[in-house]
Symmetry: C2
Subunit: 555 residues, 2 copies
């Protein structure tokens, strides 16, 4: 046995959904040559990351080993897989490989950030392969809710690993390639060392349905509608966008695309040839001349995002178009957990306008892009891996997926972010625990999720803010009283006097009681003013604000 080893290390996406970033390495321990599969983002929320723009995987481990990175492979163009490439380019500077459609979108991202487009190389589907140090890597087509999704076939001196990427088993996906059991059987026929596998829908007990089942239902709905029809889905779900557009066309409705992402995705799909025969599109301006019963709008904002076209239509006009009583709004999408409030808000706004809203609760107008439990088993059965490593899931999904594998005699390995797995031995072992985490893109700055910046903002949101200022003369004697400014706090409290006045009075009294020793001691003075203000506020309004104390000493 050689001293080289094959390692797998998730830096994001294992133990959470989003922010996918997986590393494979081969070589002597500590000197492995590395490849990265996917570099995605996650999205912030008010509960845990207010004010943050994007969540990126912490790539400091990779950055320190930049000279050992051979390549970055992107399985598909969803933001949680591709979103971090431009943000990481400066740090990693590794060549990026992707298939045509994904590469098209990757280049747009690179160029928007002023990075060279030619850092992205387009690779054809399997059997084409890329050599990356000790690895030979191919893009194996698989069906998912975006064109040209691929599983990575990763060959190393230790054998072949399959990294599934996001997938479903769809034999009639509409746009993009169908799952091809024969091709898969062929690729896996000589034995697969490990299958690193999507776990998103491991709790969905029924077989997934094909994209093709939706067309007839959507056509029925659109034909029966009397007013304007507006439908939303993820713009990147090009197959769905086409299904919707074709339904419009069959019902004699002109198609309008609203929202930047919607236009960009259709453009990319047509440019790269993954989508053909998309019905003719009219502009919002042209649409104004068409009777509303002959229109169908395809809009961004299936998750209720406040700035997307759907939410803007729910609040009023968007690009001159307005919804009216009797119109129909279709969510051809599922609400991702955490986005419920935003989605429900726009449904109610449409309800107030007299617009009928149809969502996916009937199951007729949306299918998932991920493999359900029986479909995961189908892949297990085709690939027959020695080892199954679940990814793309929260801990509960990974754990369940390990159970599923082990029930059929496959060794399951539960590896969360930061667990480096040595795949060389027969039974994979944890080689090392690597520090991982989240990096926040905050405005134009990257900050660590644990730096305390966002924690302070959450405290400001919960407790409000008070500024105390005090000026001391060159003898350390106060010049006037302490001064209080408040933000995010009520004007009056229990005593019904103005809160600022109450706080200033209490601070003034405290200050009068202090001797020269405290007045000279910066820390004591600050601490005393802060404690006094917080106690006074607690008595008056039942809340302890965050406090900034500024003592100015004249000298």
């Amino acid at each position: 046995m050689s001293s080289e080893r094959l390692i797998y290390l998730p830096l994001g996406g294992a133990g959470e959904i989003g922010m996918n970033a997986y590393v494979y390495g081969y070589g002597k321990p500590g000197k492995e040559r590395l490849i990265v599969v996917d570099l995605g983002v996650a999205f912030p929320d008010m509960d845990t990351s207010p004010g943050v723009d994007l969540i990126l995987p912490d790539i400091s481990w990779l950055k320190k080993r930049r000279d050992r990175i051979e390549a970055i492979f992107i399985t598909h163009a969803h933001e949680d897989h591709i979103g971090a490439i431009a943000h990481s380019y400066e740090a990693l500077q590794a060549p990026i490989y992707a298939r045509r459609f994904t590469a098209n979108l990757a280049r747009r991202k690179m160029s928007e950030h002023g990075h060279p487009e030619d850092a992205v190389t387009t690779v054809g589907a399997w059997p084409e392969q890329v050599t990356a140090g000790p690895f030979t890597v191919g893009f194996m087509p698989i069906s998912h809710s975006i064109p040209e999704s691929s599983s990575m076939v990763i060959d190393s001196p230790e054998g072949r690993v399959i990294h599934s990427g996001d997938f479903k088993i769809d034999l009639t996906p509409g746009v993009g390639e169908a799952f091809d059991p024969a091709l898969w059987a062929d690729v896996c026929k000589d034995g697969i060392k490990a299958l690193v596998c999507d776990s998103t829908n491991v709790f969905s007990p029924l077989p997934g349905r094909s994209e093709a089942t939706l067309g007839p239902e959507i056509e029925k709905l659109v034909s029966a509608a009397e007013g304007m029809v507006v439908a939303t889905t993820f713009a990147s779900n090009v197959a769905r966008v086409k299904t919707l557009a074709v339904a419009a066309d069959k019902a004699g409705r002109s198609v309008v695309l609203l929202g930047r992402a919607m236009k960009r995705m259709v453009e990319a799909a047509v440019e790269t040839g993954v989508m053909k025969d998309f019905p003719k599109v009219v502009s919002p301006e042209e649409a104004r001349g068409i009777p509303r019963e002959n229109l169908m709008l395809l809009v961004t904002g299936s998750q209720g995002e406040r700035r997307a076209a759907s939410a803007q239509l729910a609040r009023g006009k968007y690009q001159g178009i307005e919804m009216k009583p009797g119109d129909l709004f279709l969510f051809s999408s599922k609400t991702i957990p955490g986005n419920e409030r935003g989605v429900i808000r726009i449904i109610n706004q449409f309800s107030e306008m007299g617009v009928d809203v149809v969502d996916d609760s009937s199951g007729l107008y949306h299918v998932s892009g991920h493999a359900n439990r029986p479909d995961l088993e189908t892949l297990h059965d085709v690939v027959k891996p020695q080892v199954l490593i679940p990814m793309h899931g929260e801990h509960r999904h990974l754990r369940e997926h390990v159970k599923l594998a082990e029930a059929k005699g496959i060794t399951g390995v539960l590896a969360v972010d930061g667990m480096m797995i040595d795949l060389s031995s027969k039974t994979p072992t944890v080689a090392e625990y690597v520090d991982t985490g989240r990096t926040y893109l905050d405005g134009s700055v990257k900050i660590g999720a644990l730096d305390g910046v966002v924690r302070d903002r959450i405290r400001l949101a919960l407790n409000g803010h008070a500024t105390v200022t005090l000026v001391l003369d060159d003898q350390d004697e106060p010049l006037g009283e302490p001064w209080v400014d408040l933000m995010g706090l009520p004007e009056k409290g229990r005593s019904n006097a103005t809160l600022v006045d109450v706080l200033e009075a209490d601070l003034g009294q405290w200050l009068n009681r202090q001797g020269a020793k405290t007045l000279r001691d910066e820390d004591k003075l600050n601490e005393g003013l802060k404690r006094t203000l917080r106690q006074s506020a607690q008595d008056e309004i039942g809340k302890k604000p965050e406090v900034t104390v500024v003592v100015s000493r004249l000298s």
Copy 2:
């Protein structure tokens, strides 16, 4: 026709789920004698109401008409129906009527807030009635997920109105009264002017299932479990708590109640006699001496609340009890939209402990407390009202419920919070639009939702905070440079210098360029410092902080 009229006015709960507060009045316009049905709360969230403790209906309309209020009736003891009684008592001082179990909990609330318990009067079930000015009001038993839920039978000189309260059609509810079709038919036989009706589940197409269907399934699950079993549900769902406890008992497991609400509810149910034969309960201390396979814990926190027993068990020990691999955690509950993240967090924490989690996705371990669409129709058919007014729903629910009623020839009236409906005429009309809204209980202070306090806190969370201080001498000349303190902002930005230094340098430069006129002008100086800081921060970190400027002038 007399000049008296019968009015209905929702102040909360119509156009939202939560914070129920409905007013009925009878008399000459502007002089109606009033009764209130329910005074509930809603719960805050980080997105819209960070730092807020409770959301109360704005009762200023009622407060101004305090002398016209005859009584407050509480249909049942859920917080969204009873939660505001103690917070409103000082303002309204009206007598409160409720059935025994509800009154028991109402008195606890009153006493916790230092209000007289005897403001609460216990009323028996229909046919008992209370006279309240021109109204005669009875509590008509109906099934729901808490004992002694009632519909209000409101008799006025204009006829009988039924206010459904929250309900489901359950003929075998376990604890509490079954829906009694014969009794309902009798009460409604002389014609019902209006049915004001729960709309929560109007989008659920299948008939609701009875509480009784759960027992056998839960028993199967609990008997088959090998380790400790922990189950959570709303504590107020006393029937469910009993179903769970009985399942424990049958499986030879001792029952432990964890969480304040769990103990309080069981206590109230036993005290008031609504629950009999509850299995013997052991304390957490006693539990430590019992093998874990002989234990079943019933715990609070079905919505993932951070301080509840479930979340504490997910983080580690709670009252000396700890979960272990092989234990089972059962959510005998549904996650309310908006609470997904909290629930998912604890599921993943349990997963990391090796605890198996079972939720309601199979449909076997939870049933809803609200009437589904066909059950709403059952009530419509029994009551046969002239007019249906949907309540307890967001706009989309109310609208759908109106459609449902009108499809079977009942006049539907869509009345959201603040719409006063005149029920006297054959076709109800909007008599008036009343200002309504939300009052935040924030610490110990009540503030209006639109006062700007919470809006400022949200801004602080999104943008962070900067304090700028400047001292000017008695000639309006700056004494030293402007000083900056930051909170919730990154330490460094684009230039890689400390952010505070960059901001102070830019402010200093700006200040140097100002003439005496600006230095003397408080507003100009403040505005200039603020604008300069925000622009400088935007360049450096891509973010414009909230700013407090404090200029101290020596004189």
